[in-house]
């Protein structure tokens, strides 16, 4: 069964690249353009993994992360946070909020794919 991935980012061009990348790896993809939309989609689509941008309108990535972790029904959702802010404190904060992994932008597509696969426990 194919895994479903939610891409949450407000930068159109990044969304396009991620969508292309994930589809190429054979995942099902859905897309959210802001934090609230992301949260709604997590609840309705129940993706296996969320590629979550931090700086988004309406709700930022941390808040989304926190709310997902607060709902027992969503415990199986993996969260990979992406951010253009690379400071140490932000990485720590994201992990503390319940993210499973963290990558800073710009990222290597290869590393991203392998991180996604390892989170979803798919052999490379």
């Amino acid at each position: 069964m194919t895994k479903k991935i939610l891409i949450a980012d407000d930068e159109q061009n990044i969304v396009i690249s991620l969508e292309f990348l994930m589809k190429r790896e054979g995942f099902t993809v859905c897309i959210a353009n802001d934090g609230q939309e992301a949260l709604d989609l997590v609840r309705s689509e129940l993706p296996d993994l969320v590629l979550l941008d931090v700086m988004m309108p309406r709700k930022n990535g941390y808040e989304v992360c926190q709310e997902i972790r607060a709902e027992p029904a969503l415990q199986g959702t993996r969260i990979l946070m992406l951010t253009a802010k690379g400071r140490e404190t932000e990485v720590t904060k994201g992990l503390a909020m319940g993210a499973d992994a963290y990558m800073t932008k710009p990222f290597s597509t290869r590393e991203l794919v392998s991180k996604v696969k390892s989170l979803l426990e798919i052999p490379a």
Partner: protein, 917 residues
């Protein structure tokens, strides 16, 4: 009313006074002082109001109307200065253990025996008429009361034989009473707590009784103030009393009397005693400053009503106005009220006599008798004998002597004047202390010779113009010198000295005596520099409030032994008390005990001030000098000490200043640091934002590049699309880098401004042309309303175009595709040119209106157009406009479009700021 009733009641009252005093003393011994109370202090100052006030004010009011008022106006005025002058006097008194006003003057001018003696003589001679006045008042009121219900004026003084004269016995009883009060033991500080308590008590008694009589006369006999005054106004003679100039007293006399009582309330020996010597706490002055004038006001409210009432009731009868307070209740048959009035008068008299004679006897003992005795070496040399008994004996004798002198004056001159006039003679005498006292507190240059000259000159004039005439009028001196002047010289007429006419005798005497006094004091003082002792004492007095004042010990050098000093003090104040005083001193110095004390300058000074409390500063100086080996200090040395002290003072002032400067610098540094931290935080935020904005396009570029590189199978359409994105993201990066640099330059002031004459119309048209493609692509209408002609500005054309481009591209970005409209208007506005760019987009909420001008913040959900905005356009535009002294702002209602406007000042529209903020 029988004499014996009155005597019994009087003695009962005196016993009550004594009981108050006894309790006061006991409480003081137990350390729970009842006079450590500002109200008691203020009440004790009311010893100023004697029988003169009690009976005499009414008498004076009856003859000169408001002429009684200056006696109380003066103190009320001078009290306003007490917080400076009296406070200083009290502080000096405390630090130098001053025991009397003679001691004060003697001590100030180098602990001079001669000066202390002179002040004592002036005080005794000056105050004796005043004491006589008290005796006269008590004796008269006693005599009048014994004939109740008949009203008979007493016989003339001197017509009864000496031994049948009640006044003599009153004088003796008062002497006995004073001795009981004031000289039961010798106090090292010369403070009499019991006496002060009793005086405060009697002040209350006389006030209440006098007001009681006033209320009785005003509301009992008459029907209130209105009735009384309107009835009096019907009599032209009485009406005159209610005006200022009544009784022939001009304003000059008013002024003289006011001045006189201003000085008297400070320098009468008894006032000095209660205000300075008996003061427990300087802060008590605060309450006295308003309570004492209030007391004076209260006791004077009914003076005029009683006088008018008496004049109306006793019109045509031979009743002395001085007795109205007593005779009015008698005339209406109120024997008990009359008796009460007598007690009130007795109260006023005893209060005055006790304090005055205690003060005078201290002066006579310390400044007159002791110095004389000290001339005989036997006193100093005779072994271990306790001399405190001798001191008490001297004081007691002095009390009896002074009261007998008072009685003598009463017999000799008492009938020549009314009560008030006798009192004024005394006032004029003590006024002579004013130059030496006030000058001593404020003028360093005053010398002993100056004070001596001033005092003796003023005193001589007083003697000649007031005291001798009062004897002459009574027939005890040939009276012809009054008319013809001394030696027949008319210029020397006592009441018209050097032809000065037109004043009453008091004003006349005050004028000449103070003129001579002040003149001699200043002139003689200026003739030579103060010597070493005078300079030292001057500093202790004048600079008493300065903190680094050298102690009295600083001016002493020599060698001494505790074994000599302790017995010496013991001889005067008792061995036990001397020992405990030394033990106390040892404790404050942190020394184990009396035996361990070093006999240094400090101890010698302590011994001397302790002794000064008992025998006065001048005598103490002589006594201490007799048991220690002294090396005299030269003037230069004293000046050096003073100089050192002032250097220390200046140094500590400098230190204080420095530490204040340091504190201020610390505060500045701290706030600068805060500002720096804030700037640092802003810079961090800026860097973080810039990083974020740079990484975002880089992310797309890298992702697409990697995918294109790794995957050759991507179809052509996708390749083209991805490459297009890479290009546009690269453009975005370029724009961002440019704007960040631009912003940084403007903010740091390094931007270049190519100012020239610019027409805003052209700027707008140029910007519109540049963005026309954008508008066309999105189907948005651009309308412009520009005037044909507008003033030109001196500015950087490209920058203004940049601003316009920014506003136009913002507008077009936010309006709806196909339906958008943008209107640009240029108008002349208040002080400049105004450009409005109005759109019909979604508008901005108030919060958004704030943040659109912050860096990297964009309004609205700009998802679709995001790559084009950097979030720096508006902040940069605002910086540019503000650089030219204009402003840029937005007006908007959410949902109804937005108008971005800027105002450029014109006229001298050059750069108003060299550096952009």
């Amino acid at each position: 009313m029988t004499g014996s009733t009155i005597v019994v009641v009087s003695f009962l009252y005196l016993a009550l006074l004594f009981a108050v005093a006894y309790v006061g003393d006991k409480r003081a011994d137990a350390g729970r002082s009842i006079i450590a109370n500002p109200t008691i202090y203020a009440l004790s100052l009311a010893v100023y109001c004697t029988t003169w006030t009690y009976y005499g004010s009414v008498g004076r009011a009856a003859s000169s109307g408001l002429g009684f008022a200056p006696i109380f106006l003066g103190p009320t005025l001078v009290v306003a200065l007490w917080w400076f002058v009296m406070l200083k006097m009290v502080r000096i008194g405390k630090t130098n253990r001053i025991t009397s006003i003679a001691d004060f003057v003697a001590s100030r001018y180098g602990k001079s025996h001669l000066l202390g003696g002179l002040v004592t003589v002036i005080a005794v001679l000056g105050v004796i008429p005043y004491i006589a006045l008290q005796l006269k008042a008590v004796s008269n009121s006693f005599t009048i009361l014994t004939s109740y219900p008949a009203i008979v004026m007493p016989a003339k003084a001197g017509t009864v034989p000496w031994l049948a004269d009640t006044t003599l016995y009153i004088a003796l009883i008062m002497a006995a009473f004073t001795i009981l009060f004031g000289t039961r033991h010798l106090d090292a500080t010369e403070r009499h707590e019991g006496m002060v308590a009793a005086v405060a008590f009697e002040s209350l008694v006389k006030l209440l009784i006098f007001m009681g009589v006033g209320i009785y006369v005003t509301f009992g006999i008459f029907d209130g103030f209105g009735d009384l005054f309107s009835r009096a106004a019907q009599d032209p003679n009485l009406q005159a009393l209610m005006t200022m100039g009544a009784g022939g007293n001009g304003y000059g006399n008013w002024f003289a009397l006011t001045l006189l009582s201003m000085l008297a309330v400070m320098f009468l020996p008894r006032q000095f005693q209660v205000a300075v010597v008996e003061n427990v706490n300087e802060n008590h002055l605060r309450r006295a400053i308003w309570l004492f004038p209030l007391y004076l006001l209260l006791i004077n409210i009914f003076v005029l009503p009683i006088a008018l009432g008496g004049l109306m009731h006793f019109a045509g009868q031979d009743v002395d106005a001085d007795t109205f307070v007593l005779t009015l209740p008698m005339a209406y048959g109120h024997g008990w009220l009359a008796l009460l009035v007598f007690i009130g008068g007795l109260s006023a008299a005893t209060g005055m006599v006790i304090v005055e004679t205690i003060a005078l006897s201290t002066m006579v003992c310390n400044d007159l008798v002791m110095p004389l005795l000290l001339r005989y070496r036997w006193l100093a040399l005779q072994g271990e004998e306790d001399l405190s008994g001798l001191l008490l004996g001297i004081r007691r004798s002095a009390i009896i002597f002074i009261l007998l002198l008072g009685y003598l004056y009463f017999r000799l001159a008492g009938e020549a004047h009314a009560l008030v006039s006798i009192g004024l003679i005394s006032f004029a005498a003590v006024a002579q202390f004013a130059p030496a006292m006030i000058g001593g507190m404020y003028w360093r240059g005053a010398t002993r010779s100056g004070a001596l000259a001033g005092l003796s000159g003023g005193f001589a004039v007083w003697l000649y113009t007031l005291l001798l005439p009062s004897f002459a009028k009574s027939g005890w001196l040939p009276a012809d010198f009054l008319q013809n002047g001394l030696f027949g010289l008319e210029l020397l007429r006592p009441h018209e000295l050097f032809g000065l006419k037109g004043m009453d005798q008091i004003a006349h005497s005050l004028f000449w005596s103070l003129l001579v006094n002040l003149g001699a004091y200043v002139w003689v003082s200026l003739m030579r520099r103060p010597n070493a002792v005078e300079a030292g004492q001057a500093t202790l007095f004048v600079d008493v409030f300065k903190q680094s004042l050298p102690t009295g010990g600083a001016f002493w050098r020599g060698s001494a032994r505790v074994a000599d000093l302790l017995p010496l003090i013991g001889r005067f104040i008792g061995r036990e008390r001397a020992r405990s005083a030394f033990a106390e001193y040892a404790r404050t110095r942190g020394v184990a005990g009396v035996e361990a004390l070093q006999a240094d300058a400090g101890l010698v000074h302590f011994a001397e001030t302790t002794l000064a409390g008992a025998i006065g500063s001048a005598s103490a100086r002589v006594m201490v000098a007799s048991v220690v080996q002294e090396e005299p200090l030269g003037l230069d040395e004293v000046l050096n000490i003073l100089d050192e002290a002032s250097q220390v003072r200046a140094y500590s002032k400098r230190l204080e200043q420095k530490s204040q400067e340091l504190e201020a610098a610390t505060r500045e540094l701290r706030s600068a640091n805060e500002r720096l931290k804030e700037l640092d935080r802003l810079k961090d935020d800026f860097m973080s934002s810039v990083t974020h904005e740079l990484r975002t396009p880089l992310t797309s570029i890298r992702a697409f590049s990697e995918m294109l590189l790794e995957d050759p199978r991507i179809d052509l359409a996708d390749r083209r699309r991805f490459l297009g994105i890479i290009v546009s993201e690269t453009e975005r990066l370029t724009r961002l880098v440019n704007q960040v640099l631009d912003m940084a330059k403007i903010e740091s002031g390094h931007a270049e401004w190519d100012n020239e004459e610019v027409s805003l119309v052209e700027v707008i048209e140029q910007a519109a042309a540049s963005t026309s493609q954008l508008f066309k692509d999105k189907g948005v209408a651009l309308e412009m309303s520009l005037p044909g002609k507008a003033p030109s500005l001196l500015a950087d054309r490209d920058r203004l175009v940049q601003v316009m481009l920014n506003l136009l591209s913002n507008a077009v970005k936010f309006v709806v595709r196909g339906k958008g409209r943008v209107l640009v208007t240029l108008s002349e506005a208040d002080g400049g040119l105004r450009v409005d760019v109005r759109d019909n987009g979604p508008g901005l909420t108030p919060t958004e209106q704030q943040i659109v001008f912050e860096k990297f913040r964009q309004g609205g959900n700009t998802m679709t157009d995001k790559p084009q905005g950097t979030g720096l356009g508006l902040p940069i535009s605002r910086q540019i406009v503000e650089h030219y002294g204009g402003r840029l702002w937005v007006d908007s209602v959410a949902g109804e479009g937005a108008t971005f406007s800027f105002l450029m000042p014109c006229g001298k529209s050059t750069e108003t700021k060299d550096e952009a903020g």
